[in-house]
């Protein structure tokens, strides 16, 4: 059979979610998704072994959505940290953002790691060996500080280095649990760290959080075009999914040699970098964070860079970005509680 050169089809982002039925076989290529209203009746369902199951499953919205909404009703703000590209510093930025928010004693902060195959948040926060406690009221997040709780798949692995070899559907199931089972409690800001790409995890987080409302997404990029290329795709995703973009942060921009203080553009912004991209796309540019090797070291040791090097230029840049995020979220006054 000759392959088709059709335009890649996009998933229906507005499809109401319903509970996915248990399938007897893997979904076919053009599957509308077992949770869509088209399940079992779409053209592509003909001949699928799951057709009967999908068609007879109860229609209507996912019964877990009200559960999630109820659970998150005490969470005032929700921010997604996104980037199409891997390794640009999503997790680093999520940690720094959470630490910065938590430095304001008036705020309680939650950090949720939806990167199921490569969870880095626990290591960056120095809580890699913790496990989750389950009580009658739900799963208790791991508390890094008195006012900073975190949840990640890493806490559930029997061995630290175990690979999580899961297909999309299973990952979605866990993300749903993170939202419906975890006792986030009275939280001011929930930061959601995501894996690279525009796939299952992103779609799920978006649809699960739709009814409880997301403040918006912070996009992270590095200056070189190879990374910006993927970030453009992520902006396109946010538009299509209706997620407001709070702004763009450029990470790893410029490196100051500790020897001679000469600044090098390691990841050269040949196309104008993040600032130009933000201008072109009409989204706020939150700032550029220089590449400081000590940020990476602080992450490796699970320490807060902001506490360890408060005088560094990178720290000042990060704080400025965090203030920008606070402003874009519509929070009055200084979110860091410093001014």
């Amino acid at each position: 059979m000759a392959p088709s050169l059709e335009e890649p089809t996009q998933v229906d982002l507005d499809a109401p979610l319903k509970n996915a039925p248990k399938l007897v076989a893997p979904e076919p290529e053009h599957c509308p998704g077992p949770e869509s209203t088209q399940a079992g009746v779409a053209d592509s369902c003909a001949g699928c072994p799951n057709q009967k199951i999908c068609a007879s499953a109860p229609k209507g919205p996912d019964p877990d959505i009200p559960l999630i909404t109820a659970r998150l009703s005490t969470v005032r703000h929700k921010i997604l940290v996104l980037s199409g590209k891997g390794g640009v510093g999503k997790s680093t930025f999520s940690t720094l953002l959470s630490y910065a928010f938590a430095s304001n004693p008036a705020l309680t902060v939650g950090l949720m790691d939806t990167d199921i195959c490569g969870p880095s948040i626990p290591k960056m926060l120095g809580v890699e060996d913790e496990t989750i406690h389950v009580s009658g009221e739900g799963w208790e997040p791991v508390w890094v500080l008195d006012n900073l709780g975190v949840m990640s798949v890493q806490f559930m692995l029997p061995n630290r280095d175990d690979a999580v070899i899961w297909r999309g559907a299973k990952k979605n199931g866990l993300i749903k649990k993170f939202l419906s089972e975890v006792r986030w409690g009275d939280t001011d800001v929930l930061v959601v760290d995501t894996p690279p790409g525009t796939s299952d995890e992103h779609l799920s987080v978006n649809s699960f959080l739709k009814t409880s409302g997301v403040d918006g997404a912070v996009l992270v990029c590095t200056p070189q075009e190879v990374a910006l290329l993927d970030v453009r795709k992520e902006i396109d995703f946010c538009r299509k999914a209706g997620i407001p973009v709070l702004g763009l942060v450029e990470n790893m921009s410029g490196f100051v040699c500790p020897g001679c203080k000469h600044e090098s553009q390691i990841f050269r912004a040949s196309t104008g970098g993040g600032r130009k991209l933000a201008e072109d796309e009409g989204i706020p540019f939150l700032g550029a964070v220089p590449l400081d090797p000590r940020i990476g070291q602080a992450c490796d040791y699970g320490e807060s860079f902001l506490d360890a090097f408060p005088e560094s230029p990178a720290c000042a840049a990060i704080k400025e970005v965090v203030r920008g995020v606070g402003r874009e979220m519509g929070i009055k006054g200084d979110i860091l509680g410093e001014e």
């Binding site: 076919p28 690979a163 070899i165 297909r167 690279p196 299952d200 075009e225 020897g259 001679c260």
Partner: protein, 334 residues
Amino acid sequence: MPLENIKKIMLVLSGKGGVGKSSVTTQLALTLSLQGHSVGVLDIDLTGPSIPRFFGIEEHKVRQAPGGWIPVPVHDKQNLPASASSHNGSSNGSTSNSATVEKDVGSLSCMSLGFILANRSDAVIWRGPKKTAMVRQFLTDVLWPPLDFLLVDTPPGTSDEHISLLETLLKSTSGPTAPPGQLAGAVVVTTPQAISISDVKKELNFCKKTGIRVLGVVENMAGFVCPNCSECTYVFSKGGGKVMADDFGVPFLGSVPIDPAFVMLIEEGVRPVYPKGTVVGGKVAIEKQSEEGSTTSAEKTSDGLLVDKYRDCSLAPLFDGIVGTLVEDIKSMV
């Protein structure tokens, strides 16, 4: 099966994103080609395809032929003349380099979802089953020319794409018609810092579970040489890759430093030029005087083949060694 044309298949894997999988894939492909092998590159990163950008062929589209897709050619098998740098560079002989000699290069072609998208900034928002189907299609419906090596560039993680890739490959390469030992194994890429290592360890466990041979670990972004004072800074720490490889009992292929000239080569197509006395990986990089007269403005332009310009890159000798080890290793397996 179109994969029958291919002698060896190598995967490039990493649990972590942005460590340089695509960059390493690109350089492995260029180096293999420089050593005279015919090479194909398959990019199965569906939501963030970077291979078209790396090879500077973003504008190209895949053509359809009866029975499948024709991959996009980067260059054909040909004879590269001695590079221009031999006239004005390295006259002292101590820095003699592959860049200065004539070379027979093998053909190089690529396949990526990027070639199928209508608009380069369009998001590909797919759930698992659709990605699975696309990966399978990439493995069965691409009409590769006869290849010595097929490199498969992967997205980060251990999920749909990886499961489908291995399911399909393990099935097709164990068939009676497949060349023996066709699925050579995986090259695992990491950066030196602990955060990256902890994700990449998961990938090594993935290889162990699925029975894929790990050909070796490449440590990327190990150190940055300041172009001003030639001091090397370990931006992302150092030595982590070697320790991890030893822990898992897999070969360590080498450390690759950050080379802004390589980024420039990819981003702007500028032939790499280094200040005098730059030392990369213990070797003196190709010294190319950038005085007026010797470096013509033509050299600064994007003329010339990527593979030709890559010969001037400081990373080329490093990858020449890595690829040499890999090819020897793969040969000895059969």
